[in-house]
Amino acid sequence: MLVTVVFLASYREIAGTATARIALAAGSTISELVAQVCAQFPGLPDSERIVAAVNNEYREPDYILDDGDEVALIPPVSGGS
C-alpha cells in the first residue's frame, strides 16, 4: 500500500520536501512508517519521538495505517506567542 507523508515546519526543511509517497506492507503501523521515513531522510529526530497525525487526527504509534492515508509528521508545535 501507499501512504502520503507530510513534512511540516522543521521536518520539511530537514527532509527537503513537503511530501513523500511511501510504499508499506499492508497492516503497517505508524511506528513502522516513521522508522522507514527516518532511514530515508537522515537528520529527522529519533523515530520514537516523532508524533504523527493520520488524516488530520493525532494517532498513537501502534495505529495501523490504510492505503491512501495522509500521515503528517508533527514537530513540537509553537503556536500562540
Partner: protein, 155 residues
Amino acid sequence: MNSTSPIHITHEPLDVGRVGELVQHPGAGAIATFVGTTRDHTGDRRVLRLEYEAYRPMADEQLQRVADEMLDQWDLTGVAIHHRLGRLEIGEASLVVAVSSAHRQAAFEACHFSIDRIKQIVPIWKKEFFVGGEVWVGSQEDFNPLGAHEVAAER
C-alpha cells in the same frame, strides 16, 4: 470562516477589539483577553521578525477542540480564538483569545488554559529570524497531542 468567526486562522492582521466583541454577552461579568505579540528578543538574541505556519485544516480543527474543551470545563458565555499566520513584524499580534463568563475566575482560568493547550495540540509553528540566523521554535516538553489535558482545578 472570517474575522467574525469565533475560531479563525488568518494571514490578515488580528483585530483585538473585534475578538473581544465576539464574546460580549448580557450574562457576562468578566472578559479575559490574551494577546500574544511578537517580542524583540528571545533570551539574549534580538528577534527581527517571525513567521507562523499551520497544517490545515487540522490546525482549525484542533483550535476548535481547544474551544470545545474550554466550554466543557468552564461555565462560559463566549469564547473566541484568532491566530495569525505568515510574516509578523515586532509588536504584531500572533494570537488573540477572548473569554467571557459570569464570574471572573472561569474566564481567567479558561483563557490561561487555552494558551497552554494551543501549545500542546494545535499544529502551528513559529520560526524566529535573528541577525544571522533563523530557528523553528518548539518545545518537546509542552507538546502533548496524545495525552489527556490537565485538570482545570489545578489552577
